[in-house]
């Protein structure tokens, strides 16, 4: 029998991918029969770097984990560090942090809408959505000093205060985005080509979503009411009753496909606008840093011992940071779990039985961030052999045992 299948390599460099990852698909005609996802192309050893620096340096290093979630990682980091160190940020700083995080959610969701449109060849929508995104980037530049990598957070507060002119600019932008989101709803959700390309593509059922541990908008689109802001509220979210946006609340039925993800993301932009409006109207007065002097802060970190796990709902899903301080001025253990790590697991099951044309949609619908999730490097022994799975697992168990012994 002649060979009827052949093999299509997608990545590490491919027009559908914005960052390196490899999807190996075996194709029969247009149908994918076998798929393998290989990751680990963007590993930078950033956690190790963080464990060699002091906490303030590591906070800014965490901002460089991801370019788009450039506030999500610091947010998770400061929440974790504050928990571990027993510092509480002043209320005003908490509100400012929430405003910045929600502004980032708006720009990240609009970015995703443009990217998914580009993946289906709809460049007009890419240009149009990104044109609308400029406003929030300009606003963030006005508030924080840069369009991306805001350098706004500090353990125990925020570094820049919101002045009257900033608040006026935020209110302007909110008005603009109420209109723009309404417009986006009309265009995206009614477009026939968009609907044809996303309906029933990348369809995740509630079962699979729970089994694969999917997070963020993907899980919510599958009908699971999960949101860190709702389940474990922190900062200003504790004062606001944030409810997870799920498709059954919007249209009454759940498909869990890329179309539902689009819907969830667009409605989350509106939710963010609501949150920002609340925060701006109820912004408490007061100072913005618990310990304004960085030297004193570092001294406190050196004095304190403790560990904590903290989470933040990033635009892509939950970001979890683990930190352990024991006598150094920086973390002695720093562990980052990014949402894409869980969500990439859905590619395999979703791609089997799909068409080649669906690869870009399935790849992009989770808004993957490779540099967020690549946390393992291939370990080689001195004579150049790669360590196999069993050996690495053995070493992991050994290390876990070691940590467990230390804790006792």
């Amino acid at each position: 029998m002649a060979k009827s299948t052949y093999y299509i390599p997608v990545g590490p460099i491919h027009p559908a991918l914005k960052e390196p990852i490899r999807v190996e698909a075996e194709v029969e005609g247009e149908k994918i029969v076998k798929v393998d996802v290989k990751r680990g192309f963007a590993h930078r050893g950033i956690e190790y770097m963080g464990m060699k620096r002091n906490a303030i340096q590591t906070l800014y290093l965490s901002e460089r984990i991801c370019g788009i979630c450039s506030i999500s990682h610091p947010y998770a980091f400061v929440i974790t560090a504050e928990k571990a160190l027993g510092i509480e940020a002043p209320p005003r700083a908490q509100y400012i942090r929430t405003i910045i995080a929600e502004l980032e959610r708006i720009h990240s969701h609009i970015l995703w809408l443009g990217v998914i449109a580009h993946e289906m060849g709809f460049d007009t929508l890419l240009f149009w959505t990104w044109k609308g995104r400029e406003k929030v980037l300009d606003l963030l530049e006005f508030i924080t000093g840069n369009r991306i990598n805001y350098s706004m957070y500090m353990i125990g507060g925020a570094r820049r205060d919101l002045k009257e002119k900033h608040i006026r600019a935020i209110k302007d932008a909110i008005d603009y985005y109420w209109k723009f989101t309404e417009h986006m709803k009309e265009i995206f959700l009614s477009d026939p080509v968009y609907k044809a390309r996303t309906r029933n593509v990348a369809k995740v059922s509630k079962d699979i979503a729970l089994k694969l541990n999917l997070v963020g908008p993907i899980a919510r689109a599958a009908g699971i009411r999960m949101d860190v802001r709702q389940d474990m509220p922190y900062d200003a979210y504790a004062d606001i009753d944030v409810r997870a946006v799920v498709p059954q609340d919007i249209v009454g039925e759940v498909y869990g496909d890329a179309y539902d993800v689009t819907m969830v993301r667009i409605y989350e932009i509106e939710q963010s606008l609501d949150i920002i409006e609340y925060c701006v109207d109820n912004l408490p007065e007061g100072k913005i840093l618990a310990i304004p002097n960085y030297v004193a802060l570092l001294a406190k970190i050196r004095r304190t011992k403790g560990e904590a796990i903290g989470a933040h709902e990033a635009p892509r899903g939950e970001v979890i940071h683990y930190l352990k301080f024991d006598g150094r001025d920086g973390p002695s253990v720093w562990k980052v779990i990014a949402p894409s790590y869980n969500n990439i697991n859905s590619w395999g099951p979703l791609l089997i039985g799909a068409e080649v044309a669906d690869i870009p949609i399935v790849v992009a619908y989770i808004d993957p961030c490779m540099c967020c999730n690549d946390r393992v490097a291939v370990v080689k022994t001195k004579d150049g052999n790669e360590l196999g799975y069993t050996e690495i697992r053995k070493k992991c168990l050994e290390k876990t045992e070691k940590i467990r012994r230390e804790l006792k």
């Binding site: 194709v27 247009e30 580009h118 060849g121 240009f127 149009w128 068409e355 080649v356 044309a357 690869i359």
Partner: protein, 321 residues
Amino acid sequence: MTPETIFYSVAFPLLGVFLGLVYKGIDRRISARLTSRIGPPIRQPFWDVGKLLLKETIVPKNAIAWLFNAMPILAFASSLTLLLYIPFGVLKAPLEGYGDLVVILYLLTLQSLAMAIGGFASGSPFSSVGAQREMVLMMSYEMPLATVIVGFALIYRSFSLTTIASTPVWSIVSPLAAFGVLLLFVALLTVTPAELAKLPFDIAEAETEIAEGMLAEYSGRNLALFYLSDAVRGFAMAAIEVVLFFPFTLSSILGLSLTGFALYAVEALWFLLKVLIIYLLAVTLVRTSFGRFKIDQASRIFWVHVNLVALLGLALIWVGV
């Protein structure tokens, strides 16, 4: 063969290539403005071709080299031949009397076929998927295209393009058949982006899915030839639509009585304007306002919807004539 024919057979392809590239430039510019961008200068396609011609032509190791290299030439040659069948305003087509609409249909198919074979010969999985898609797409849109041509054959009892161009189709049919012709026009407009491999039917070259598909392995001179044949095909396709549906001359509309050179010049410019309008409507506007369909969706659109429209048009013509 007279010296005049030889002059035409050299001048027409040159003019066709020039116009094809100019129209491509205008298309890119307008498309950019439609999406709030500035866009490249109109002479950009010329620079692109010039640059491609200077670049090294790479033949992949596992490609069938002779087939791989021959297909761009075949595609370019067939697109140039296509030009020779198009009456240019009031000028007669240089190859008048040597072929007709059916030949045009086959020349259009030949180019797509050449690209598909080139894709299969390049030995890359992306190209293979692209070529497969192109074959499927071709099978889907050939039927409406053939229906349109049969419709015209029914009206004129002839396949000759010059005959069709000399008498506007609307003037010789009954109102019922005129509606049928309108339906055929709609069908042909829908086929145009597929024929030219433009969005929403650029499935065979889908950039984000299969990395330009059939063209993935082409570079340098070979790619330049495909680029040129694509440009010429775009112009020719719009020109055919103008000849079939809007052959009105400016002098007949305004009642001018021009003679000699003035007549030719005015009519040629009028013809180019008509082609430009059709090009912008059928290619630029459509490719900017749609995303890419999947291959099965595109097939369904052509087999069910467009075919239905075309066959209905044909039936109306059959009844009306």
